[in-house]
Each structure stands twice: as C-alpha cells, then as structure tokens.
C-alpha cells in the first residue's frame, strides 16, 4: 500500500513533471516563434524599405542645381563685368561657450591649446587674443570668413563650442572704392544709400537675381579718379573732395567719387550720423555724397555757361567786341575782379582770365529771363537726374531775378548746385548742345536718351574752342595734359558763412572736357576748403589744386576710355587766336 502509494506518488509526480516540461517547452517555442516573428517583421520592413529606396525616385528631396547656385542677393558689376558687390554663403567661426553644457569649462582642452590648434589652420590668427576670447567665456565671432576645407579642419579639433554657422555674406571686393555708388546692405538685408537701395527689388527677386546688374562705371577709371582726388585732397589738406566723369553723348557716369569715403564692408555709426563735434567742425558723415547731395556755389565754372547762353541768344555775335572791365556798381553792391586784367576785354579774354566784371556785363546784356531759361533747360532748378536716392535740391534764385542776381548767377554766385549738375551742363555745352540726364545704368548701343536741346550746335562748337583756349592760355594751363586736347574752366568760390562770404574757405573746382576736337568725356574735380600748402605752391585757387588733379587724371583714364593722346591733333582755334594778341 505504502509502496503503491509511493509508486502512485512517483507516477503522479512524473506525470506532473512531464506536464510542466511540456508547458515550458511550449512557452519556449512560443517565445522563439515570437522572436522569429519580430525578426521576420523587421526583416520585412527592412526589405520593403530597401525596395522603396531602390524603386522610388522621391527619397532624397534635394534642391535643384539652379536653386542651390542662385545667389542670395544679386551681384553688382561694373560696365566690364568686374564684380563690385556679391553675396555668397560663407562659414563663420562662432564661439558658443554653452554648447558643451558645462558653464565652468566650456572647452575640453585649455583655451591656449585650442588657440594654438586654430593658429595652425589660420596662420593670421593672433594666439594671445584668441586664447583670451576663449577664456573669457562670452559668445562671439573668432573669424568672419572661413573656407569650407578650413571649416572641416576646425571640426576635426573636436571642440563642441567652436561652431561654424553658415552665413550669407555681402562682400565688396574693392573695399571703400565706389562706396557712395554701391551703398551697403543693412542687418535686415535691405540695401541702403546707393544702388543697393535703388536696385533692392531687382537684387532680391529670385527670377532675375541670377543675372548680375551692370552699372555704368568703369572700375579702373573709378580707381584712378579716387586715387588722384585722394592725393590732391591730402596734398592741399582739404576737408573733402568730389569728382565725376561723365560720357557726354549718353549721360553714363564713368566714375563718381566723394571723399572721404566709408567702407561698405564695415559700416560704422559715425559713417551715417553727424555727431555734435562734427557739426561744429562743419564736417559731414562719410556716407554723405558730395557729388549728388551737397550743393555748392561753383563760381567761375558758370562763366562758360553764361557766355554760351549769350552766344546762343545772339547777344554775342562779334568776338572782337570788347566789354568794359571796370567795377560794376548795382545799388550799393559792386562787382570787382580779384586783380586788374585790363580796361577792356573781349569774350575770349574774359574766359581766359576769368573776369567777373565783364561776365556780369555779358549776363546783363543777355537779360535775366534768357539766362534763367538756359539754367532751367540745364536742369539747375531741380534735383540732379541720377538714380541715387541722395540728391540735393539746388539753391535756386526763384521766379523773377533782379538785375544784380542775374549778374552774380552769370559768374556762379547766388546759385548753388551739385557738382553733378555742373557735369551734365558741361556735357550739354560740348556735345553739340543736347542735355541728357545722368545715369548709373550701363546703356547699350542706341539706348541713350534723346535728351533736350539747350544750345545750338554752332554755339557748342564755339564753346569747345573757347574752353580749349582757357586750358592753353588761361587758368586751366595746369590741366592741359599733353596730347589729350583738354578744355576746361577753373572756379574758386568763397564759401558762404557768418552773414557773408568767408574769404578763407574756398571751394575750388575744375570742370573739363576732353578731347576738345570731338568731346567724349566731362571731368569735374572739386576740393572743399583746400589750404595753401607747399604742394600747391601756397595757393588755394582751383588753378593750383583742382586743375593739376585733372591734368594728372586724364592721362591715366584717357587710354582706358578709348581716347588716345595725339599731339598732332587739336581743335582749330585759328579764328579766335588773334583776339588774344599778347598771350602767345
């Protein structure tokens, strides 16, 4: 019984054991099945994914080549396609101390070690400065522009806090050159001051920004103009200088410079705003454009315009006729010459010696209405025609000119215009008599605006002779570059101030055109408050400072602009030459 009982117990126990085993086996099988199922599922998903990747075309959505190469902002070039402003995606090296998540130790290595490793990549880097910046723990730029391969090497240093953000960079390869024409781009990406502002819509429009916008200026001519003006300004210790070179037949501006300049790559607050000290010293911010925005009384450079108006109106018919050169008295004012020139002067002598008295008499004979009409036709009563946003309004004498005002305007006083007004007026005077608006856009052949006729063609050819004579025999001698047939007129006007004119501060201008036998370009050079220095032989007038600038500039730009010097050619002045008997 016991045995049976035992046996029963055993067999019962065996049965239980085998049941358990079976269950466990089932469990294990089920688990294996589950694992196998999961594996199979994963494998199926992977196979499907591979199939999808292999079969589908839409897996990697990348931007098209055109989209990726489209510049973020259009390029500005000069008339020959040389880039003056361009935008490109660039890397910057930014230090972010929070990147590692440890405010006390933002770097893995010591700041000095990191700085030395950076120095190997960027040889121009200053180790001391960089180590100081890294140790200070403030976020900031370490480098502004980094090449992609250098960016990879920076990544290889293995510092998380050295970040390489992609930035769109607007860069002006020529630095401060042509800054007033180009302008700059502000932090919001909007163009400011120059053509960046004017062409803002075009430069940001995705449809057209791939094609560079060509300006009318020639980079080499612009460089020469700024170089000569800058040296002239330093040599005479002048406050500022301005210059413009204009194509007389199309109105295209070949170069336009206002000194001192600003650097569009690095625009500072003092470039834009006039501080109290600057106001007291009579200075303007460097972003202020003296060529298109500042108005000056341009003095004697207006005399040829008056003479041209008188020839055109027929009040000057006989060039042998002389005018009384004694002091002109109108009411309590008197108009005098700076020195005695002669008792009587004819028209040629008036311009050659720059006589105020005879010019006033010529203007008086012409009459205020006709002179006023000519000045209006030359655009002197409105802002200059140019695309730039900064355009100064002339100080215009108004509707009815009294007799005295007519006389003073005749020699460039009592009317204040920008140097660009003068350039356009001179272009009209020498190109056959047609005034055209100035432009900064490159014009193709036949695209030149029709313009309006101000002078007769015969008047224009007479004026070419007279301007050439001033450069050969008169105040423009220092601008007469050999072989370039330069003609032009000096002007030295006292600046107004303190209830009258200040005899000590002058604006000296030289307005020229060349070559006079077939004028192609007008050149204006202006110095604001030049001082008498050794370089200018202690003289402050335009004949000694502005005229030599033009004389040095024209041989540099002439060959570039397609004007070859030729000493065997010149305009025929033989019919006027006998009138200045004592001069030759």
């Amino acid at each position: 019984m016991t045995a049976l009982a035992v046996s029963t117990t055993i067999s019962h126990g065996r049965a239980t054991l085998s049941g358990t085993r079976q269950r466990m086996l089932d469990d294990a099988r089920l688990r294996v099945l589950w694992v196998a199922l999961i594996f199979a599922l994963v494998a199926a998903v992977a196979t499907l994914r591979i199939g999808y990747l292999g079969l589908s075309d839409q897996v990697a959505t990348s931007t098209s080549l055109e989209d990726a190469l489209l510049p973020p902002r259009g390029e500005l070039t000069d008339r020959n396609g040389v880039p003056l402003a361009r935008a490109f995606p660039a890397y910057a090296l930014w230090y972010n101390p929070k990147a590692l998540g440890d405010p006390d130790n933002p770097l893995v290595k010591s700041p000095r070690e990191v700085a030395q490793e950076l120095k190997i990549i960027f040889p121009a880097l200053n180790v001391e400065n960089a180590a100081e910046k890294l140790a200070a723990g403030r976020p900031g730029y370490l480098m502004r522009r980094v090449l992609p391969e250098d960016a990879n090497r920076v990544m290889a240093i293995g510092e998380l806090s050295l970040e390489l953000p992609r930035e769109t960079d607007r860069h002006y390869p020529q630095g401060s050159m042509a800054a007033h024409i180009l302008g700059y781009v502000d932090r919001e990406g909007q163009g400011r001051v120059g053509m960046e502002q004017v062409l803002n819509d075009q430069l940001t429009d995705p449809a057209v920004r791939n094609t560079p916008s060509a300006l009318s200026i020639d980079m080499r001519v612009q460089g020469a103009l700024e170089d000569e003006l800058g040296r002239g300004m330093l040599a005479t210790n002048a406050m500022g200088a301005a210059g413009v070179i204009l194509d007389v037949d199309t109105g295209e501006i070949m170069a336009l410079a206002s000194l001192p300049e600003f650097d569009p790559n690095k625009v500072e607050a003092e470039d834009l705003l006039q501080s109290e000290e600057m106001r007291q010293r009579g200075e303007v911010p460097t972003s202020f454009n003296r060529v298109t925005n500042q108005v000056y009384e341009l003095g004697s450079t207006f005399k040829p315009l008056t003479v041209a108006a008188a020839i055109d109106a027929g009040t000057i018919r006989d060039f042998g006729r002389t005018y009384d050169a004694s002091t002109v008295k109108v009411g309590r004012f008197s108009i005098k010459d700076s020195h005695f020139i002669g008792d009587n002067l004819n028209v040629a002598e008036t311009l050659i010696h720059s006589s105020n008295t005879t010019t006033a008499r010529i203007a008086d004979e012409l009459g205020s209405e006709k002179l006023r009409r000519t000045m209006i036709d030359l655009g002197m009563n409105e802002r200059p025609y140019i695309e730039l946003p900064a355009r100064g309004h002339p100080i215009w004498p108004g509707e009815k000119w009294p007799r005295l005002r007519n006389m003073t305007v005749g020699y460039g006083h009592g009317i204040a215009v920008t140097p660009l007004h003068l350039a356009s007026a001179y272009a009209a005077m020498v190109n056959g008599g047609v005034w055209r608006p100035a432009t900064l856009h490159k014009l193709g052949a036949g695209e030149a605006p029709k313009g309006r006729r101000v002078f007769k063609a015969s008047t224009s050819s007479r004026m070419r002779q007279l301007l050439r004579m001033i450069a050969i025999y008169g105040t423009g001698k220092n601008a007469d570059a050999p072989g370039f047939r330069v003609g032009g007129k000096t002007g030295s006007a006292e600046k107004p101030g303190g209830g009258g004119y200040r005899r000590t501060s002058l604006v000296s201008t030289f307005a020229a055109a060349f070559p006079m036998d077939k004028p192609r370009y007008v050149v204006i050079a202006m110095l604001d408050e030049p001082k008498g220095t050794t370089a200018s032989s202690f003289q402050r007038t335009a004949a000694w400072n502005a005229a030599p600038i033009v004389g040095n500039l024209i041989p540099r730009i002439g060959p570039i602009l397609g004007v070859r010097p030729d000493e065997t050619r010149d305009i025929d002045i033989s019919d006027l030459k006998p009138l200045i008997g004592g001069e030759q």
Binding site: E226, T490, A535, P565
Partner: protein, 179 residues
C-alpha cells in the same frame, strides 16, 4: 499530353514573368543608383562652385584697384603713357626703322619647318580665375598703367621715402596764373 503541355507552358509563363520582374527590379535599382550618383555629383558641384566664388572674391579683394595703383606708383614707379609712346599704325612703326646701309651685311634668315599645333616657346597666359587662356587684348585691357621711360632709373635701389616722394600729385607744368 495536352494537360502536360499546358502545365509546361504555365510554368514557362511564370518563369518568364519572374525573369522580367527580376530584370525590371534590377534595372530600377540601377537607375536609382545612377540618380543618386548624379545627386552626389550635383552636391559636389554646388560645394565647389561656392568655394570658387569665395576664392574668386578673395582674389579680387587682394588684387583690388587701390592696391594695384599703389604698387604701380610706389613700387614700380609706372606712369601713364605719353602721347609719343603711341603709334598710329604699321606705317608709323615702319617709319621708325632706318634704311639699311649699302655696305651692311645681309640679314640672317633662319629656316624653320612648320610644326603643327605649335604653341610657341611659351604657352598662352592662363587666367587665374577661369583657367582659360587669356587673349592678347585682354592683357592690354587689364593693365591700366603701362611702363614709362622712367623704368630704368627705378631699377636702381631706392628707399621707400624716395619712391614715395617721386611725384607730387599737384605737380605738372605749373603755370603762373591767377583768377
């Protein structure tokens, strides 16, 4: 017999279908592989174009007009060409020559066989930006200031101060004039 033939045909069709499907799959895979290669190449083109733009801009910046003008004036003492340095044409060039004297020896003439595709002693000048050969007139255009007669004197060593003092910007044929 008919049944066996029909079965064989069915297997044949299935086999053909399977082969077609495999080929189609393989082809699609291949096409997409090529496409992704193209995409990779495009990405590389974009990276290279950007780098080119950056380097080109850097080149332009380092060779900017002011820099070149200073080099030309201070380092080399170049001046703008004068009227007598220009020639009207071949005729004027020929007029500069002097006729050979009667007793002068005959000029030596060297025979030379024409070599096809001969680039001459020097290959064409290559633009550092585009890598393309620069045409002759391009070189002339790029040099705004040309050598002047004063070149020889500058070969002599001079100090920077002397070189800077070479030209007064306001100098020239200063005439005694008054306004």
């Amino acid at each position: 017999m008919m049944r066996a033939g029909s079965r064989l045909r069915q297997i044949g069709w299935a086999l053909a279908l399977a082969i077609c499907l495999t080929l189609f799959l393989a082809l699609t895979f291949r096409v997409n592989a090529v496409k992704s290669d193209v995409r990779l190449a495009e990405r590389e083109i974009i990276a290279l174009e950007r780098e080119k733009l950056l380097l080109e801009t850097e080149f332009e910046t380092r060779a900017n007009q002011q820099q070149l003008a200073n080099l030309n004036r201070i380092e080399f003492g170049y001046q703008a060409p004068k009227a007598n340095q220009y020639l009207e044409g071949e005729r004027q060039l020929a007029s500069l020559g002097t006729p050979r004297r009667a007793d002068a020896p005959d000029p030596i003439r060297v025979a030379r066989a024409p070599v096809p595709n001969d680039k001459g002693l020097f290959p064409m000048m290559v633009s550092p930006l585009t890598g393309e050969p620069v045409a002759g007139e391009g070189i002339e255009d790029a040099a705004p200031v040309e050598e002047s007669e004063g070149r020889q004197e500058l070969s002599a060593p001079r100090s920077l101060a002397q070189r800077l003092a070479i030209s007064n910007p306001l100098e020239g044929p200063i005439a005694e004039v008054s306004e």
